[in-house]
Symmetry: C2
Subunit: 250 residues, 2 copies
DNA sequence: TCGAATTTGTGCGTATGTATC
DNA sequence: GGATACATACGCACAAATTCG
């Protein structure tokens, strides 16, 4: 391993990665086989294997046993729009996002009473172990699961009201804002933080990706004034989605 | 290699990953050594090695040669605030983010005249190959590079004006909104899309991460009404940053 | 239809270098 | 200096899936 150089397998991976992102190797094309890589770059079998593995771990390519390694459909096409800002008129450049926004899909949720974990308590500005209602959702579009989310609401607020269970009662599935309005709590702002991390195995199993592939995590807290009324973690596969915001300036 | 089971190295990696995220293995602790893993899980040396490699590729742990494999400082502590929404009063829960927002750092930029690549042209609603001014930035906090960004402005708008070069003239470094205001263009909205992808080698070199580790990419377009006046790609390491938005509801 | 060649997926043993303790 | 532990690399083996004659 020569001097200040990178390890061989990273050098090979980098070269292939570059070819993928600049279009030399477009989606659905086959990568050179392990044997070809070996001879083309003058490296051993292990190095060629490692290089492919790096790209697979990044989600750029997909190995098909007995057939080859193929460049994956890259573009994170779908956007999930998170803001209600509107420009005037129908010719606005944001109409598409708005149609994307109304996710015409199905979902299922399951609620459970719980004592607030430390991090959730902090986000809700309540004491740890105070009771909360946790609801887990899985969202599907045309049958395929694409998004999962876990939401927490303090029972101090919703307990013993008709909206205590998000997925039951007259306002089932109508969203936090409407449900809270029904008990005279007026949600007027939401804070969201977008991050990314490798998917846990359970998430990958649900969302169809592989464990370790990046997911986008939206940490969201709805508030009425400065009072948090709901906080949630939303998880989507990073290779298929982007989160869109449209904001006024000034 | 029994039937529907996962490969051994993924099973081991998953187990360790779980222990990391649920706090059993907190940051800075040492993972079991390769030999320990080998005996604890009843697997070979290679499998233990592969499992560690998976976690390293995900950025969860960091190998220190001769010492051990250590859980990395996980929390994506810093948030980059992207919205100017304000609640009333000083006791607002968003003061911190606001202080985070005014990135007390340094940056350097380098501008270059260019013909718009197809994707940029689409984002700016101009014809491909129309001239644009491209500016590359590297942002540093206390000397350390943390964010890079590439911005494009149509020369149709800024050409032959005092603000043609973002980093020169009387308004150097004052931001798009102020610069455009100086030539009587009033930016009133911004669209942002947040996604994630593996870092390219060049980005990893600048940002200090490893190629393949996830980066957050913010695709931003400033507009005056429906007229795009600037578009940019902002890249930050996903393991250290989150992008924060604070929005009004309704 | 059968079988051979190819290719990926997984796993083993080993060797060498280097950083840390 | 010596022991430990990671980092990279090589070669080999075999199973399973796919492709193709």
């Amino acid at each position: 391993m020569p001097f200040g150089e990178q390890p061989a397998y990273l050098r090979v991976a980098e070269d292939l990665r570059q070819q993928i992102v600049d279009g030399t190797l477009p989606p659905h094309t086959r990568l050179p086989s392990q044997a070809s890589i070996r001879s083309a770059y003058g490296v051993s079998d292990t190095v060629a294997l490692e290089a492919r593995k790096v790209l697979m771990a990044e989600g750029l390519v997909e190995g098909r046993s007995g057939s080859g390694t193929y460049v994956r459909e890259q573009p994170a096409q779908r956007t999930i729009s998170r803001s209600g800002y509107r420009t005037l008129g129908d010719c606005s450049p944001f109409r598409q996002e708005q149609t994307d926004e109304r996710v015409r899909g199905t979902w299922e949720g399951h609620s459970e009473r719980q004592e607030a974990p430390a991090e959730v308590a902090e986000r809700l500005s309540i004491e740890p172990d105070e009771p909360v209602m946790r609801t887990r959702y899985v969202f599907r579009m045309s049958g395929e699961p694409i998004m999962m989310s876990t939401s927490w609401e303090p029972l101090r607020i919703t307990g013993r009201t008709p909206v205590m269970l998000p997925e039951q009662g007259p306002l089932a599935g109508r969203g936090v804002v409407e449900r809270m309005a029904a008990i005279d709590i007026h949600v007027d702002n939401v804070a969201e933080e977008v991050g990314a991390r490798p998917a846990l195995a359970a998430e990958a199993r649900v969302l169809g990706g592989l464990p370790g592939h990046a997911v986008l995590v939206v940490t969201r807290t709805y508030r009425a004034g400065s009072l948090p009324v709901e906080t949630a973690d939303v998880v989507v596969p990073a290779d298929r989605f982007r989160i869109a915001y449209h904001l006024p300036v000034r």
